[in-house]
């Protein structure tokens, strides 16, 4: 457990991907297979079922520290993290018992859920006595199910591969991903299977690296790309990029983050059943009605992050795979063929399958940049972010290569709004007021409509922080209402009606564009200005 706690702190103290991978690879090199298995499980987002109610943990921590519960709450408010508050507030333990991670889990943590409340209390107090604040923090993160350390599952697979490759060069990150599929349960044997040098098992699921588009400078436009005739245009969808693989009677759906999305999109997996073996399709997962009308990203979001999808949600938010490229046909890699050819083969495959959840993304007709420029203006009505321009004779590149694929986004919406509430940030910014709520005028009142966290420089954040401290009108728990004085220009990507919002509108990706020192609060926009931006229904 000491090594695992040290790994956590090493990961936590760097933002560099390579250092994170190195830290994990070092750990895997050191740990026994059972510990490595549990580390893999937690680092890639696995949790223990809720072991002890957090309410009780707070209560016991306050008791152990000899403080009233309100003082625990004040401390929590200041620290911003429950596990950390507990690990700091409870006096440091006396002894530090060394026990491997796997034993910690199976003999100390997992049994907690079967204990009575009194027994739980004794067990938790014992854990606190046996840990210093650094290890206690990690243990409390595991107990509260809040263990997160800024690594993706993909990064973990890369680290495992890096470690494995010291002896078995064929074990790539994709092989590890393949082997982590399904309901992977941590055990020494399971970790050893990840290390199996014979990688035949994993070949079937291997994806191709995604080709990524380069952003087009919207001010300059596409003129410099050459003639419009050399390009195909498609909508730039706002969904989840995916690669659908059908090989040897099995289906695999990969995300652009190169994670296997198993069981998350049953409609698409069902559609893929009809694909011939040896087919790989690139496209976008979108929430869409049977009519083909694409829904807003907010709808799709309801399905993201759910491990199991209920019938109700499946009915309310059906998804369609909008295919736009074919990478493998009859088991042959065709990425070096020109796009026009791949598109033609894709059309043939999709028509042959003829499944309602697998469709071709529409090609947008147009014969000049001007045509497409006009069509691009209507992107929001299509719930698209703009256009994609792809060179007809281009190959399918690896990664973000300049030249063949361009994304031509619409300009974001912008509006001037007044800052009316502020709240301290969490984690990294827990001592500063960094989370703001903005309002627009309706008659003489300011109606809150968006929260924004980012966009100011550190110096500006300090200034706003000082302003908030000096101009607080009222405090509601952690939220301060402030004199409406600061005007900021906000940008956002999308808008939709919402019953949950006082303003009746929800904004997507709101962010601060700049601080309008030149504007007085009265100069800010009105709510009706925002309503006018809503796409017609």
């Amino acid at each position: 457990m000491i090594d695992f706690a040290a790994l956590y702190h090493r990961l936590d103290s760097t933002t560099k991907t390579n250092e994170k991978i190195a830290a994990m690879a070092d750990y895997f090199g050191l740990a026994n297979p059972a510990d490595a298995a549990w580390a893999t499980y937690f680092l890639s987002g696995g949790k223990l079922r809720r072991l002890v109610p957090t309410k009780l943990l707070r209560q016991w921590a306050a008791e152990a520290a000899g403080i009233p519960s309100w003082l625990f709450d004040e401390s929590y408010q200041s620290v911003g993290d429950l596990a950390e508050t507990i690990s700091l507030i409870v006096p440091p333990g006396e002894s530090r018992e060394e026990m491997p991670l796997s034993l910690w889990i199976t003999s100390k943590l997992e049994p907690l859920k079967t204990l009575s409340e009194d027994q739980q209390r004794d067990a938790v107090l014992e854990i606190w006595q046996q840990t210093d604040p650094q290890m206690r923090f990690v243990v409390m993160k595991l107990i509260t199910g809040a263990f997160r350390v800024g690594v993706s599952k993909r990064l973990v697979t890369r680290a495992i591969a890096q470690f494995a490759q010291t002896s078995h060069p064929d074990i790539t990150a994709d092989v590890v991903s393949h082997r982590l599929m399904g309901d992977w349960q941590p055990s020494a044997a399971a970790f050893q299977r990840l290390m199996n040098p014979d990688v035949e098992d994993a070949v079937v699921s291997q994806p191709y690296p995604f080709c990524l588009a380069h952003p087009l400078d919207t001010a300059a436009g596409p003129g410099a790309l050459g003639s419009a005739h050399e390009f195909l245009a498609e909508w730039k969808w706002d969904g989840i990029r995916g690669q659908v693989i059908r090989r040897q009677g099995q289906t695999f759906v990969w995300s652009r983050g190169e994670e296997l999305m198993e069981g998350r999109w049953p409609e698409i997996e069902a559609a893929a059943e009809s694909l011939p073996n040896g087919t790989v399709v690139d496209g976008e997962i979108l929430a869409a009605l049977a009519s083909g009308q694409v829904l807003q990203f907010a709808q799709l979001q309801r399905r993201i992050g759910r491990k199991s999808i209920g019938k109700k949600l499946l009915a309310e938010v059906p998804v369609i795979f909008h295919a736009f490229d074919l990478l493998e046909e009859d088991g042959t890699d065709i990425r070096d063929q020109p796009l026009a050819y791949r598109r033609q083969r894709l059309e043939a495959v999709v028509h042959q399958v003829d499944h309602p959840h697998l469709c071709l993304t529409q090609l947008i007709t147009g014969s000049s940049w001007a045509d497409w420029s006009n069509i691009r203006e209507t992107s929001r009505e299509m719930n698209a972010e703009g256009l994609m321009l792809k060179r007809r004779d281009g190959r399918y590149d690896v990664g973000r290569v300049r030249g063949n694929w361009w994304k031509w986004k619409v300009e974001p919406y912008t509006i001037d709004a007044v800052l009316i509430y502020a709240q301290k940030g969490h984690g990294k910014r827990s001592s500063l007021f960094t989370d703001y709520t903005f309002a627009l005028w309706q008659g003489d009142t300011l109606v809150p409509f968006a929260k924004a966290y980012s966009g100011l420089t550190d110096a500006e954040i300090q200034q706003v922080d000082q302003f908030v401290r000096k101009n607080t009108k009222e405090s509601f728990g952690p939220v301060r209402s402030v004199t409406p004085e600061l005007v900021m220009e906000l940008a956002f990507e999308g808008l939709q009606r919402s019953k949950r919002h006082k303003s009746g509108i929800a904004t997507r990706f709101p962010r601060i564009l700049r601080w309008r020192h030149d504007k007085r609060p009265a100069d800010a926009n009105r709510l009706s200005d925002l309503l006018e931006l809503l796409p017609s229904e």
């Binding site: 936590d12 103290s13 403080i67 401390s75 620290v79 911003g80 993290d81 508050t85």
Partner: protein
């Protein structure tokens, strides 16, 4: 209101003696607990302070002002009020101010700590009727590790950086913290360098008779230089500035009580955070109040309301006398030192920031 002391928007005022303790604005007669800028304000006519803070105060306050210094424990009458200074353990010359009039005793702690510090005299409890205590770290999440453990960790970090050919840059406030860190560094590990603002503090400490390891001011090094074995003690505001480029590959660390909390460590974007504070933590704050056992406690400079409420519930007569929360930034600013050598100056800028007056 207490007859001996009043909490006013200008600071703590003693009507009988007609003086302010650590005033927030320039006044006629200021009694100063220590040389940090939120306690020793520029622009007062007359200053009364502990003898040991003379070098530091003369360095940062106007030479036109009149100074009067008292040795620790020495009494002085101001308009019939008996006044004396007693070690506060916060930094060189830092004092608690003891005020006695008509049998009543008030003690203003200024900033103080209870732990070991080789650069100043240790805090002593003073029995009193009224205790005015700071509360910068007045939350139970703040609990300092021992001085030896932390200094050992810092020296170990320095060696580890040497092993991979990296320069070590350790940030601490220009006066007080930096010199305490220097005193704890193991000078057998390698050469120690200082930022300009830190070096000024070092000189003043040396003039005051404090023994510190040999240091070299970074500004005296010209041209190509091997920094890979070096320890550089610098002010936090140097982080991320062009001044840092000269060191090449460097590992950075911040030494501060705020480093106890992960959010603060991350916000600093330094490689390491070491918990080293010159203020009382939660357990020693309570310990100090018990040792002085005052009839009444006034809490200021920090988590005043929280500490006052806790003390009240524990059966003490306590009240918060300001509403201002001292934040990490305020701390930096207060501890920064105005310097006149352009590029090396501590550029935090707002070093004279006021604590908001009581409502």
């Amino acid at each position: 209101m207490n007859a001996l002391l009043q909490s006013t928007p200008r600071g703590l005022y003693c009507p009988a003696g007609d003086f302010y303790v650590d005033p927030r604005v320039p006044v006629e007669r200021a009694v100063v607990s220590h040389a940090h800028s939120d306690h020793a304000r520029w622009g007062c006519k007359r200053y009364l302070a502990a003898q040991k803070s003379e070098q530091l105060l003369r360095m940062r306050l106007s030479p036109d002002a009149q100074f009067h210094f008292l040795a620790f424990g020495e009494s002085h009458a101001v308009n019939g009020v008996k006044l004396s200074f007693h070690p506060a353990g916060h930094m060189l010359g830092s004092a608690q101010v003891r005020i006695e009039h008509r049998g009543q005793v008030a003690v203003v702690t200024g900033d103080y700590k209870l732990g070991d510090d080789p650069t100043c005299e240790s805090w002593q409890p003073i029995h009193c009727d009224l205790m005015v205590t700071e509360s910068t770290f007045g939350l139970p999440v703040y609990r300092w590790p021992s001085e030896q453990v932390t200094m050992a960790a810092i020296n170990e970090w320095w060696r580890a950086n040497q092993a991979i050919g990296k320069c070590s840059v350790l940030y601490g406030y220009a006066i007080g913290k930096s010199q305490r860190l220097l005193a704890g560094l193991d000078s057998t590990v390698g050469p120690i360098y200082t930022h300009g603002a830190v070096e000024k503090g070092v000189q003043a400490y040396r003039r005051s008779g404090v023994r510190l390891p040999k240091t070299t001011y970074v500004g005296t090094i010209r041209g190509k230089h091997d920094w890979s074995k070096a320890m550089v003690v610098a002010v936090p505001s140097a982080h991320g500035t062009p001044w840092m480029r000269r060191f090449g590959r460097a590992s950075t660390a911040m030494a501060s009580g705020w480093m106890a909390v992960r959010g603060s460590r991350r916000r600093r974007s330094v490689d390491r955070g070491f918990v080293v504070s010159d203020h009382v933590d939660w357990p020693t704050l309570l310990q100090a109040i018990d040792a002085c056992d005052p009839d009444r406690v006034w809490v200021t400079h920090g988590y005043s309301a929280v500490v006052a409420r806790y003390l009240n519930e524990a059966g003490r007569d306590a009240q918060a006398i300001d509403s201002g929360l001292r934040t990490e930034q305020d701390e930096d600013a207060a501890a920064s030192l105005a310097t006149d050598d352009g590029s090396d100056a501590d550029t935090d800028g707002n070093s004279e920031r006021e604590t908001p007056p009581a409502p």
